[in-house]
């Protein structure tokens, strides 16, 4: 059984939100133009984070509601393979949307320097997506999707509070996206590449951990 066959029952949940939201972002970029490409790249990173994590958590909620893993455990498939398939679906979604984001940035006619800065911002965003989403999904498998969602909301709240403190202190003005954009654009490309590799490594390392976590908690 292939990875695709395992996740096939939820394929629309995996594909529809990313395609829909990304299409809206592309229409916006081409119709209104992009005043601040680095901020736009940061926004793309946040959008990718939401549209790849949200379906995964919704699917986990459905599995919890139906005791889906207890059902799957009666079938000829290892739960660790089910978990791996879900992780890989998320992994490919993040990377595909990241690549699509770079293509989108390149196709709106940015000058070379700005394209490099905005692409780097997106790469850093994707790296953080890989790390954070894999951790949240492990938490969802271990403690349930509701506690994982609480962690997610708490983290978002803390980031916004941090943004407010930073802005109030006069260190950096603007929104979370613009502050992230400023920080990310200061990061050199080699470091961004290393962070992307680290993101991929952390994500892939979380897969066997998640498999063991779920296998120990089927019933």
């Amino acid at each position: 059984m292939t990875m695709f066959e395992i996740v096939r029952k939820n394929i629309f949940r995996y594909v529809t939100p990313p395609l829909g939201v990304f299409a809206v972002m592309a229409i916006y970029a081409f119709s209104s133009g992009v005043n601040n490409p680095v901020n736009f790249a940061g926004l793309l990173g946040i959008v990718i984070f939401i549209v790849t994590l949200a379906p995964a958590l919704v699917i986990e909620m459905e599995e919890e509601k139906n005791r889906g893993y207890a059902f799957l455990a009666t079938l000829p498939v290892a739960i660790r393979d089910v978990v791996r398939a879900k992780f890989m679906m998320m992994f490919y979604s993040i990377l595909a949307l990241g690549a699509a984001g770079v293509v989108l940035l390149a196709s709106i006619g940015l000058p070379g320097y700005l394209l490099s800065e905005s692409a780097k911002t997106l790469v850093l965003g994707i790296s953080l997506c890989l790390i954070f989403e894999s951790v949240v999904l492990v938490l969802a498998l271990r403690f349930g999707s509701a506690p994982a969602l609480v962690v997610l909301l708490f983290t978002t709240l803390m980031l916004n509070i941090l943004t407010f403190i930073v802005a109030s202190a006069g260190l950096m003005g603007g929104s979370l996206v613009s502050i992230a954009g400023k920080i990310f654009s200061a990061v050199p490309w080699p470091f961004a590449a290393i962070l992307l590799a680290a993101g991929v490594a952390v994500f892939l390392a979380m897969i066997p951990v998640a498999g063991r976590v779920k296998e120990s908690r089927i019933v």
């Binding site: 059984m1 139906n66 005791r67 207890a70 009666t74 079938l75 000829p76 019933v219």
Partner: protein
């Protein structure tokens, strides 16, 4: 004769409960009933065999393979019906068939359709609208539709009315028609085990306390009814669960062949009456332990 199942010294510890050195062997073509009171460890044992729960010690071989390492290959040859039936509730029976059929190499849609028809389940029926009995029947239809060599059934008839219970057991006997197929069936409804099993294992408080052929149990385990004073000495000492009864007293022996002669005179005079102990009697004897 080769064994479809060999489980040795399985252990599992939970807070307030431990499964202790459970060993089970099931030859090909054999039906083993696993009997025990609620909470004795039947479901934990079966979940370990299905790799749903990891044993803390012990070894399992199904078709000669470790199910933890060969999950796909092993489960492809097993039909499983759990003590609870989980499905995706917002889906239909037809969707469920399509979903599960992708996991099995030998899925037989035509057989599944026939079983559903026999059970009176519509393919278009919503899972959420199925009764408890229908859910069990659907589970059995799924378990049988991929030509399994080994059926593992955890309390499949619990909570079912007698009509549905009989229907379910009839299907199991039909499955057994092929002498190459084996069944492990757990239940605390001993009548069901009596009807279908070749051998019985009793599990009490996390340990197998008796594993024997059904015929041997019938030969060795007897309920002795006796008038006061009619049974004494070794025969009386060997009785458990001695109670007052309409006859006088009654108790259970597990060594009838050894006390048969001592009881012969009382039996001849009508002061002793011997009857086969039921599996319930045997179970109660182990649980009460008197």
């Amino acid at each position: 004769m080769d064994n479809v199942l060999e489980a040795r010294n399985l252990r599992k510890e939970y807070a307030g409960f431990a499964l202790r050195d459970v060993s089970l062997t099931i030859p090909r073509g054999y039906i083993l009933g696993l009997i025990g009171p609620n909470g004795a460890g039947k479901t934990t044992t079966i979940r370990m065999l299905m790799n749903i729960v990891k044993p803390s010690a012990g070894e399992i071989r199904i078709f000669g393979m470790d199910p933890a390492e060969n999950e796909k290959a092993v489960k492809d040859r097993i039909g499983f019906v759990g003590d609870e039936q989980f499905y995706y509730e917002n889906r239909s029976v037809a969707w469920t068939e399509k979903f599960v059929s992708r996991f099995f190499d030998n899925w037989n849609g035509e057989l599944f359709g026939r079983l559903l028809g026999g059970f009176g389940i519509e393919r278009s029926a919503a899972i959420s609208r199925l009764s408890k009995g229908m859910r069990v029947k659907l589970s059995i239809a799924i378990a049988l539709s991929h030509d399994p060599e080994f059926l593992v059934l955890d309390e499949p008839t619990a909570g079912l009315d007698p009509v549905v219970r009989r229907e379910v057991l009839d299907r199991l006997m039909e499955f057994r028609g092929n002498e190459e197929r084996s069944i492990l069936i757990s239940s605390h409804i001993t009548d069901d085990i009596m009807r279908v099993a070749d051998g019985v294992a009793f599990i009490v408080d996390g340990a197998i306390v008796l594993r024997d052929e059904k015929d041997s149990i019938a030969a060795d385990w007897k309920r002795i009814h006796f008038r006061p004073g009619a049974v004494a000495g070794r025969a009386l000492a060997g009785l458990s669960c001695v109670r007052e009864s309409a006859f006088g007293h009654s108790g259970i022996t597990r060594e009838y062949s050894k006390i048969k002669e001592e009881l012969a005179r009382g039996a001849a005079s009508g002061d002793v009456r011997v009857e086969n102990a039921t599996l319930d009697d045997v179970l109660i004897s182990f649980v009460k332990g008197e």
